[in-house]
Symmetry: C2
Subunit: 672 residues, 2 copies
């Protein structure tokens, strides 16, 4: 539409005002991988462990299934990665699963995906931080005995950092993520070398322990159920895979291709680490019990079960502490980083939902710090509640986690199939048709597998805690539809009013009223400004709250000869709002076609508590005046010295909102 | 100053606007007594009991001092009543102790009195409600076992009633107060009749119990100390005596004389009830122990100690339950009423302190419900903290209570002596001099006695809890001086600015900017209104947050031919505040002598949660714009249908603020 564009250009006077301190720096694959994949790769830290923990219920015999389960998870991951490679090509706008579901299934499905993602953000924080606490607790006993406190403290610190606005950059993500990958791979390779090439025994500290079955010996259906449950828990490795599909716009060109390549790279790395850890666990005969005190036989008194990663690092690196600390430390760090991605992802999703009017409008402009802070505090609050309620136990939290992820996988994959069907129906003879059919097949495999997993997860985990996540999703869904309904109602109200009144009539006259309490500079300025608008009627009004004060004011007014009449409104009961309101109503009543402008002098202060000492009556009056039709309220500010303080702080404030890196934004100075 | 008055009158055009739904109804002595004396008379319900409890530490032998202590308290009460009769004549304005101390000792002393009174309001609530719980618990065992819950619940209910605005009237006070007085006096008279005239034995349920001394047998100094401590506790009977001196303006004429008579009447009634209860306690040999479980010997297993009033009612009225219930019920009720007086007294004192700029300005206008609500919630919150911290035990709470009362007694009485000295010095030969000298003597006796009691209270109760009250007074004192300092600093800043800029220059032109996001009715109205002010420059500005939306807006704008240019401000990062701010700054920079008026269309909503869905960006933008010198911000309201709801509620709202009855205000319809 070239005409519109030129109109647009013509109307823009001078150079457009840009908030030019930010620059768009697109991400190379090398940086995009850590930025988007920290969440997905960090889940490798707990997924293998959770498989072993679930199987431990069946005793050592249960562990024999671990490799098979791991292979199933790997297969699933391959299918999902392949599916999402189709997504990033078809929907490169960064809308992710929400967009795919909305476009292909309609807004309701989109909203289900959004609810699932919001719940998952909370769980990402609680699961990742709890796992970080468990890992760090494996080398620092104090943390192990104060796991909940440590986890809550970590969330609080993360919240504070995000509220202040941390300066994100690709490097912040890159170093710990690559260090983690290097650490885990080195451990796997060195472990394999010792076992296979050197023929050494590398028993874990728990290798010699016995493992007591919980309850009866499991057979038949119960055993199948247990294996399926272990598989469900292992599927936690897939959380975060969809992140790249939300970040396509931040990639360098060709965006989709680079994103797809990065996705594949991430999948391969995650699979190698995941399989490596499971195989090392088998080689070291590490035992991880659901209830260590009861299940572990032969453990020394007061034995504190370490995480799988810590046990493997100990076994593989023997007594070489620096290597052990390296692996455990970077495992903890990448988990914290994964939690942080939730803090970044939340406002991005919130912005998209606000644009579709499912969340309050102001979330749309992401620069908005206040709305954004509420989101961060809410996210942290819910995460803390979960951590405390579940004692920071990853095994218990993970039961809530995976439902949401697979709900959005399933809706997104089925949406993709509809997408291809539509395209193929529109033009079945196109050259690209065979490619589309191939893509559709990939997504179909993805849908079949994720759908099966969703059913398995629902069956095996519903009573274990998944119902909480589902209930929360339902509540969020209802809230968002209610908000949307409200906005729709308001829009309808305005449309109706528009039909009733074809044109807004220009008010015939402007009646200006300046509120006066004392004759000081703020009042003088308000008077001067009001006079500058050259109203048809200009008068000053004061409320007689105290006879002596009013007499003094009137005398002063007379003396200075303002040529503006001062009206004294009586208020025997020392109210301000009501008398002014009634006066304004009377003025309006006398000349209904006039518009009344009320000028209120206001102090501008720089400290939060000063607000309580100034302007309170003015604020309340303003709030009530706005209910009167035909009345405008004008604030005439008087900047107190302290306001400079706040102004300075606004100016200094870091303008980069969290999540900026994922959208390919950074501060300009960084890019030079 | 007749000239000023006429000037004032001339300036008032038409009839003055009065909030005429309220009428001034002055109180007869018959109604004033219950309105102002419920607090003082209710303390009779716990003061005698507290004397016995303190003495119980010395065993049954200790009780022999109770009558002497009671006589000392009566003497003290007579002296205080006589003193305050002087106060109401000398200071009939209703400023009470705060005014007397401020005028005669200076503002610092006044502030000490104010701090003491504020602390006492909190304690009035906690002590009265705790005592009410104990009394009601004496007939309803469930309340006895859930004392804290009951007390907290009662405070919450009272708070809710006061927040909603209860319709106070003299009758509400009169019935329970007189019923209480009648009940107690009937009990005393009937008890005396049975003992003296009929020669009957009326043993209390605890008459046969033994009372174990706590610790060693007390002699010498320790005994004196105990007796003094019992006297201190008994002095709780004096709390609330000063209330009438705050209420003189609400009396019928001759105000001071009527107030003085009412004060005397209240004193006599309180003294009779107080002495009657103490003598009945002796006649029935009632035992009240500090630690019933340890001290009472011969009590049945699981014995729950009843309050003195309940024990006496049981003993005097034998098995006649209605009489017993009557006495206990109205004792509980008057205590609740006494607690309510604190809710009423608080805003009245707050208003006076705000006038002197020791508290935020908006507390000055008592009609202000919001500020007022904060006060009520704060008062209730602190009272609940105390009730919970001290297990709703009157005996423990009372240790904190009396300090504040006597601090203000002492400062007020010494202030009165200065007052008389000053008058006598000014004109020693006046005819009234001898009356003045007599008044001074009365106040001197009052000062001596209250001063002595203050010292006794400080010595015997400091470590028992009085230090908490003193610390709280100190904190409040510091807070109030800090607030005053802030207001003084602002006033100085304005004076300085006034010296710098002799006159406020009239801005040369008015540059109007209308913010536009969509072209709907609120925007059209804002445009029409802005145009009605006939600015020198008028332009519409929109922030390009979304390219598609902006293109649509521009196209529409072109089509409608507004004759107002629309400027598009770019915002690549979807911010609103910053681009607008920079644009306004640029406009200001180009023409520094212009004033810029920014018109912001705003929705007016009627439900609290709708605020979160509308106007948030506008609000924030407004807040930031006010920091720019030379910029006015005008809200152009658009009333959504839901706003009618709130408007209606504002209209229906009960206009009578709590405490109104005490100031002689009532709703007009009541007075017809």
């Amino acid at each position: 539409m070239p005409k519109l564009a030129s109109v647009l250009k013509r109307l823009v006077v001078g150079r457009p005002f840009r908030t030019d301190r930010l620059a768009h720096t697109l991400l190379s694959k090398r940086i995009a991988l850590p930025v988007f994949a920290s969440d997905a790769m960090s889940s490798v830290a707990y997924a293998p462990e959770e498989i072993l923990i679930t199987l431990s219920v069946a005793g050592v015999a249960g562990y024999t299934y671990s490799l098979w389960i791991a292979l199933a998870v790997v297969l699933l991951m391959l299918a999902v990665v392949a599916s999402y490679r189709q997504n990033v090509h078809a929907y490169p706008s960064g809308g992710g699963d929400y967009e795919v579901a909305t476009v292909n299934h309609g807004p309701r499905s989109g909203l289900v995906v959004a609810s699932a993602l919001l719940v998952d953000y909370v769980l990402t924080v609680s699961v990742s931080i709890s796992s970080a606490a468990a890992n760090i607790g494996s080398v620092v006993p104090f943390v192990a005995t104060h796991k909940v406190e440590f986890a809550v403290g970590a969330i609080v610190v993360l919240t504070a950092l995000n509220l202040r606005g941390i300066r994100e950059s690709g490097t912040v993500f890159a170093i710990p993520t690559y260090a983690f990958v290097v650490g885990i791979l080195a451990m796997v390779v060195w472990g394999a070398t010792r076992v296979v090439l050197l023929g050494q025994e590398i028993p874990a500290e728990s290798a010699s322990f016995g493992l007591v079955e919980e309850g009866d010996h499991l057979t038949g259906f119960a055993l199948v159920f247990l294996v399926l449950r272990a598989f469900s828990s292992g599927s936690a490795a897939l959380t975060g895979v969809e992140a790249i599909s939300n970040g396509v716009p931040a990639f360098r060109k060709p965006k989709s291709k680079n994103a797809a390549t990065t996705l594949l790279l991430m999948g391969v790395l995650a699979i190698v680490m995941f399989l490596g850890l499971i195989m090392l666990a088998a080689a070291t005969r590490a035992k991880i019990a659901e209830d260590p005190a009861r299940q572990l036989v032969g453990a020394p008194a007061g034995y504190e079960q370490k995480t799988l990663v810590a046990q493997l690092a100990n076994a593989v690196f023997g007594g070489f502490d620096p290597a052990i600390w390296y692996v455990v430390f970077f495992t903890g760090l990448i988990l914290v980083l994964a939690a942080n991605t939730a803090f970044n992802g939340f406002p991005v999703l919130g912005s998209i939902l606000a644009q579709d009017r499912y969340l309050p409008r102001q979330l749309h402009t992401r620069g908005d710090r206040l709305a954004f802070s509420n989101g961060i505090v809410g996210l942290a609050g819910f995460a803390i509640v979960l951590v405390v309620a579940f004692d920071a136990e990853v095994t218990r939290l993970i039961q809530l986690y995976i439902v949401g992820v697979f709900v959005s996988f399933v809706l997104s994959q089925s949406g993709m199939i509809r997408h291809w069907n539509r395209l193929l129906r529109a033009d079945p003879e196109r050259a690209a048709a065979s490619r589309m059919r191939r893509s559709r097949a990939v997504n179909a495999v993805g849908l079949t597998m994720t759908g099966t997993v969703l059913v398995i997860v629902l069956i095996t985990k519903f009573t274990k805690g998944a119902w909480i996540a589902i209930a929360a999703m339902g509540a969020i869904y209802l809230l968002m539809t209610a908000i949307r309904r409200h906005y729709d109602r308001v829009a309808a109200e305005l449309r109706e009013a528009e039909l009733d009144t074809k044109t807004v009539t220009l008010p015939s006259r402007n009646h200006a009223i300046v509120l006066v309490s004392k004759l000081h500079l703020p009042t003088r300025r308000a008077l001067a400004y009001a006079r500058a608008t050259r109203p048809d009627v200009l008068e000053a009004v004061t409320v007689n709250v105290d006879d002596a004060d009013t007499r003094e004011l009137v005398a002063q007014w007379e003396k200075e000869d303002f040529s503006v009449p001062l009206k004294v409104v009586e208020s025997p009961y020392r109210e301000i709002t009501k008398p002014v309101l009634e006066y304004v109503k009377r003025v309006r009543g006398a000349n209904p076609r006039d518009v009344v402008t009320v000028y209120i002098p206001e102090y501008v202060v720089g400290r939060w508590w000063e607000q309580f000492l100034h302007n309170q009556s003015a604020l309340r009056l303003k709030g009530r005046l706005l209910f009167q039709p035909g009345v405008m309220v004008t604030s005439v500010p008087w900047q107190l010295a302290s306001s400079e303080r706040l102004k300075q702080r606004y100016r200094d404030r870091q303008e980069l909102a969290p999540g900026a890196v994922r959208r390919g934004l950074s501060e300009k100075k960084d890019t030079k």
